[in-house]
Every structure is written in structure tokens, then in C-alpha cells.
């Protein structure tokens, strides 16, 4: 436990210092052009707005579903080789797999993975 604590403090301090050190070392200069958003050389075309295609949202939901299922499977996978009654564990896991595959096929058929 002590090791984790020391590591977190050490890496935290290093990360904080290394990302902020040029504020003390570097030069400072003001220029109004610097204060406009980066636009590849052309004048500013449109302002920033938080809007994005809903497909990003669907991908996030699909990820949530499968990652939660995967986190249940982790423990199941860990004990599978060691237990004596493997058949019961296989049947239980098989039922779980049926649910995963059904969900996956449903999302696929509904076009959840299409990018347009």
C-alpha cells in the first residue's frame, strides 16, 4: 500500500511540475492575433459551440453496455480453470453469452454501428 501512495505522490508532483514549468522559464508576449482560435490561417469562420452528431452518443451507450458485461465476465473467467464443477459454470456463462450476442446482434441490425 505504501508503494502505491509514494508512486502517486511522486508521479503527481512530476506531472504537475513538468506541465507548468515553462510558465517560469519562458518569455511572455502579448498579441491580439494570438487570442483568436486556431483556424489554419483563414479568419475565424464560426464560433465554438458544443454540438455533435448523435452517433457519438450511441457509441458511448453501446460501450457502456458491453463494458459492464465484460466486467462481470472478468471474475467468471478468473475462476473457470480452478473449479471442480466446470459444467455448471459453463452453462451459466453460456446463458450470459446468449444475452451478450443477442444484444450485439440487435444493435447491429438496428444500425447502431453505421456511421453516416
Amino acid at each position: 500500500m505504501i508503494e502505491i501512495l509514494i508512486a502517486i505522490i511522486f508521479f503527481g508532483i512530476i506531472a504537475l511540475i513538468s506541465a507548468n514549468i515553462s510558465g517560469f522559464l519562458g518569455p511572455k508576449s502579448k498579441n491580439p492575433t494570438k487570442e483568436t482560435p486556431f483556424e489554419c490561417g483563414s479568419p475565424l469562420l464560426e464560433k465554438f459551440s458544443v454540438s455533435y452528431t448523435p452517433i457519438y452518443f450511441f457509441v458511448a451507450i453501446a460501450f457502456l453496455i458491453f463494458d459492464v458485461e465484460a466486467s462481470y465476465l472478468l471474475m467468471w473467467a478468473l475462476i473457470l480453470r480452478g473449479v471442480t464443477d466446470k459444467l455448471t459454470l459453463l452453462i451459466v456463462g453460456g446463458l450470459f453469452f446468449v444475452i451478450i450476442i443477442l444484444a450485439f446482434a440487435y444493435i447491429w441490425k438496428k444500425g447502431g454501428f453505421e456511421w453516416e
Binding site: 505504501i2 508503494e3 502505491i4 509514494i6 508512486a7 502517486i8 511522486f10 508521479f11 503527481g12 506531472a15 504537475l16 513538468s18 506541465a19 507548468n20 514549468i21 515553462s22 510558465g23 522559464l25 519562458g26 511572455k28 508576449s29 494570438k34 487570442e35 482560435p37 486556431f38 464560426e46 465554438f48 459551440s49 458544443v50 455533435y52 457519438y56 457509441v59 458511448a60 453501446a62 460501450f63 458491453f66 463494458d67 465484460a70 466486467s71 465476465l73 472478468l74 473467467a77 478468473l78 475462476i79 473457470l80 480453470r81 480452478g82 466446470k86 459444467l87 459453463l90 456463462g93 453469452f97 451478450i100 450476442i101 450485439f104 447491429w108 454501428f113 453505421e114 456511421w115 453516416e116
Partner: protein
Amino acid sequence: MSVWLIALIKIIVLFAWLMLFALYATLLERKESAVIQDRHGANRASIFGISSFGIFQPFADALKMLFKEDFIPDFADKKMFKFAPVLTFFFSSLVIIAIPFGEPIKIGDKTISLQLINPDIALILIFALSSMSIYGVILGGWSSKNKYAFLGTMRATAQIISYEVALIFSVISLIMVYSSMKLYDIVLFQKAYLWGWLPRWGIFLQPLAFIVFIIAAIAETKRAPFDLPESESEIIGFFVEYSGIRFGVYMLTDFIETIMLSLLITVLFLGGWHIPFIERTGLSANWIKAIEIIGFQIKTFLVFGFLLLVRWTFPRYRFDQLMELGWKTLVPISIFNLIVTAIVIGLL
């Protein structure tokens, strides 16, 4: 007291190793890309007129970045803007605490393991830490208040969480085979032979999982051919507004992630520090340990070189192709591999 001291020394050595590797990885990448594109690569940085193929270049780059102006645009969310690179760097470099580098060594009457911590949940810890670093990317792109940075952030998030699924499923089939999540135990498991001649490495036990893992993990590091979040020729990336050392930290984090990936591939699939048939040569135990530690470094280096080769060989994917590869190819393959592995292990 001595526990503290040993832990601190280990952390400093780990950190120095990581930083040196990451700095020279930048040089290696420049040199490798130069060879591929028929150029010379960086060779001008010199101390007292000695340039020797640019071995001082990483330090010149680092110093240059340190002395750049620390510029934060007025329209950005300043606190978050400052905090984001710290977050990515912190989490992606913290992964190294769970990696074993060799068999425990004896100094005097003390046994020192070449690993900082060996928790029961090492694999979960590693994946948790490495996926925490996406928060730095999200915060950085969001707080930049620039539409290209925001687009890069959305792409990075979608890409990383899509490939996380395939990655986790391929790792589950590995856990099933090794029946442990401790990285040290996983390497010990691989130190045996199938039918007396084939090393029992992950790559031979789980070839499909290896292919899925390596593709998904390259996508996780956000480098070509999956560098959509960056794609310097169209949107430049989620770090458009960053400059100086803050940008440098993002760039270094890319290399650190690639190093962690090569360490993980070495431990999970390539037998860690195991060198086949070394115990039959009749060397003494200490010599074997030393050779194995060097062998681990060489394996990691070769995997890293392979990843660089992939980065400079393949053209970039389009975003719909990327999503199709992730969801429609890698996830089904990894689920299939998982089911076959479960049936084989369950019926054996």
C-alpha cells in the same frame, strides 16, 4: 523505514527508465521514419561539435520546449486547460507500477522483487489507469473552446471506447487461460513448454486474442493508422491550442502509452522475461536472472520497434472504416475467441 526507501528507489529507477525510453523513443521514431522515407533524420544536435547521429536531439527538444512561452488563450477555460495534460501524463505513466521486470533478486539477505506492487487485480488496475487518461484528452479538447479541438476530442473518445470493448474481451480470454490477474503469475505460467518443445507463451495459446489485442491497443494509443483524433493534415487534433511544454507533455504521453503497450504485450503474450531453453544450458541461477532481465528489455524494444513500423507503414483509416473495424470485426472475433476458449477449458 527501509520499505519506504526501497519503494522510493524503485520508483525513481522506474521513472528514469521510462523517461529515457520515452525521450529516445522520439529519436527512434524520427530515425525510423527517416529510413522509411529515404531521409537522414535528426542529426544536427551536437555538444562541442560532436553530433554522433543525433543522440543529443531528445534533450535539445526537451530544453527547447521548456523555454517556450507558456501561452494560454483568453477564450479557453484556463483551469481545465492547465490541468488536462497533467491528468493524461499522470495516469498513463502510473501504469508502470504494476509491470514486473524480472525475477526477484537477492541483495545481501534481502529479496527485492523487480516490481513495485503485485496486486491481485493487476490487469484491472492497468486497464483502469490507462483508460483514465482519456479524461485528460476530453478535458483538453473541451476547455480549448476550439471547434477542431472539440472534434478531435469527440473522435478520440469514440475511438478509444469502441476499441476498449474488443481489448477487454481479448484480455478476458487470456485471464481464462492464465487463471490469474497477477502479472508475475502470468509470466510464471508462461515459463513452461507445450509438448516439450513449444514455449507456453500467450501468443501460441491465444493467437486470435493476440491479433485483436495488438490492433485494439494500437487504436488505444491514438497513433497511425488510427490517428483520427490527431490527423495532422485535417483537424490537427485535440491539442490545437496547446503550445510549448504542455503540448510536449501530450506528445510524450503518446510515446509513454506506446511503451506501456509494448511492455504489456511482452508480459501477456511473449512470455515476459522467459527465454526458451535457457535453463537447459547449465548456467548458474544468477546468470540466468541477469540474462532474463536483459532479454525482457530487448523484447520490449523489439515490440516497440514493430509498433513504430506499423505506425509508419499503413495509411490512415477513414472514421467509418475505423468504427466498422472495431465493432463489426474485432468485437465479434474476440467474442468468438472467448466462447471457444471457454468451451475448450471447460471440457478439458
